[in-house]
């Protein structure tokens, strides 16, 4: 079984596309669409990488990242953050909170796969 990637995103068609390309690349993909319960989901089954959207219902990607980094069980999980807002201050905020990589939408499939491969090095 391939390494686990958790996609936290609320757009079902984006989830489907990312799941498809990562599964085809050999990753085991889990998905979650609700910000409020995302940290519980992560703790219940810590993945090898999290792909995290910023604008989520219930709790923003920034808040999820902050809680993730504050928790000893999850603070080392690499996070690839996806956002439709590419403003400098969003990028700076993500970096302050400890994001591993920041990617703006619309991204290309090749970029996502390359980043995932890089961030989850053997």
């Amino acid at each position: 079984m391939g390494k686990r990637v958790l996609v936290i995103e609320d757009e079902p068609n984006i989830i489907e596309a990312i799941s498809f390309i990562l599964s085809r690349d050999g990753w085991t993909v889990h998905t979650h669409a609700d910000g409020e319960t995302a940290n519980n989901k992560i703790k219940a089954m810590p993945p090898d990488l999290i792909i995290l959207d910023v604008m989520l219902p219930g709790k923003s990607g920034f808040d999820i990242l902050r809680d993730l980094r504050a928790d000893g069980e999850t603070h080392e999980i690499p996070v690839l953050m996806l956002t439709a807002r590419g403003q400098t201050r969003d990028r700076e905020m993500a970096e302050r909170l400890g994001v591993t990589q920041f990617m703006t939408k619309p991204f290309s499939n090749a970029e996502v796969i390359e980043s995932v491969r890089t961030l989850v090095a053997d």
């Binding site: 757009e11 068609n13 984006i14 489907e16 596309a17 990312i18 498809f20 390309i21 085809r24 604008m55 439709a84 807002r85 403003q87 939408k105 619309p106 991204f107 290309s108 499939n109 090749a110």
Partner: protein
Amino acid sequence: MPQRQLTGSRIRERRTDLGIKQSELAEKVGISASYLNLIEHNRRRIGGKLLNSLAREMKTDPSSLVEGAETALLDQLREAAAADRAAGAELGRTEDFAGRFTGWSNLVVRQARRINDLETRVKALTDRLAHDPQLATSLHEVISSATSIRSASSILVGEEEVDRDWQRRFHRNIYEDSQRLADASRALVAYLDAPSDEGSVAMSPQEEVEAYLDAQSFHLPYLEGDGTPQHAPTLRSKAASSLLSEFRRVYKEDVQAMPLDDFSASAMELNHDPALLADRFRVSLSAAMRRLATLPVDLGHPEFGLVILDGSGTILIQKQITGFGLPRSAVCPLWPAFRAFTQPMQPIRRDVQLPVEGGGRFRCFAIASPVGPASFDAPPTLEVTMLVRAIAPSGQPADPVGVACRVCSRSGCRTRREPSILNEAPN
């Protein structure tokens, strides 16, 4: 060019421009020609009813004749200089410049104001792009749809085989997302094409309301009667219209409690004392102060300024008074209004002195009152009403105050927040 010399000179200039003889004008306003001559040569002070009468006979605004008009112009010129210190305006010669080149001075002030308005507008537009929830939602929808379409279509056109079930799903997704993209694009275009509300962008809602009220001298004749208002103006922005609506509601209540004819006569009789008027009409002191500020000067009443602030010190409403030049923000913390905040419900009456030679003395009445109903569960929210009236300079003590630190020449002030652009004068 002492400022106090200007009022008489202006009256003389206006009269000669109109080709009216001194004796004719004197007769029309009920004074002797020799007295008018003394006024015109700045040997007698003038104000109140006589000034209003002279202005009316010469078909001009009283404020254009009084000396305080120069104070306001000078303050505005200094503000303009402060906004661009690198230009090196000769601040020490501001009065000379304003006196010799009034038209040019007005042009400088107008252009400085225009620059300020444009900068405010640019900032508002920038904020709108960054924070407008409607715009953010539309853009998010567009980008999300585009992301999904790009990703799905890349899968379909890629070199790797995709089975038929997945092909159908991605085709359906692309179709759905293209519909979303079309809808979101239309919404975005409609939003960006909407008529721009320039006024609301250039001005805050409070400034828009004040611009309207200033044009009416804060007196709204259509609300003075008993009947329904015949004329209910609307302002450009909804926020400003809402604020004006609230102002009119309070104005109407004040009119009902203090009808114009009765209040005007009582104000004359009681020397415009807000406490005595509040007692006579059985209204709150703040209501009496508001009502005094709406009395028309052409009925012979003195000019009043009015400032209403909330607990944060933010000015909610202000009516300008000649010679004080009330700013909208960064005001002097020595105003009696702020003293009132420390003693809620205690009326405050203080004479204050601006750092202006030959004038700049005002009497301020202020009171901090709770807003809204009392609650066991929350502290009261206070609002201060301050009424301002010009008084003659005298040897009596007065609180030294300023308008705003930046244009205040007072030295050694313990409340100074920022350096002055002026040469500081002794306290």
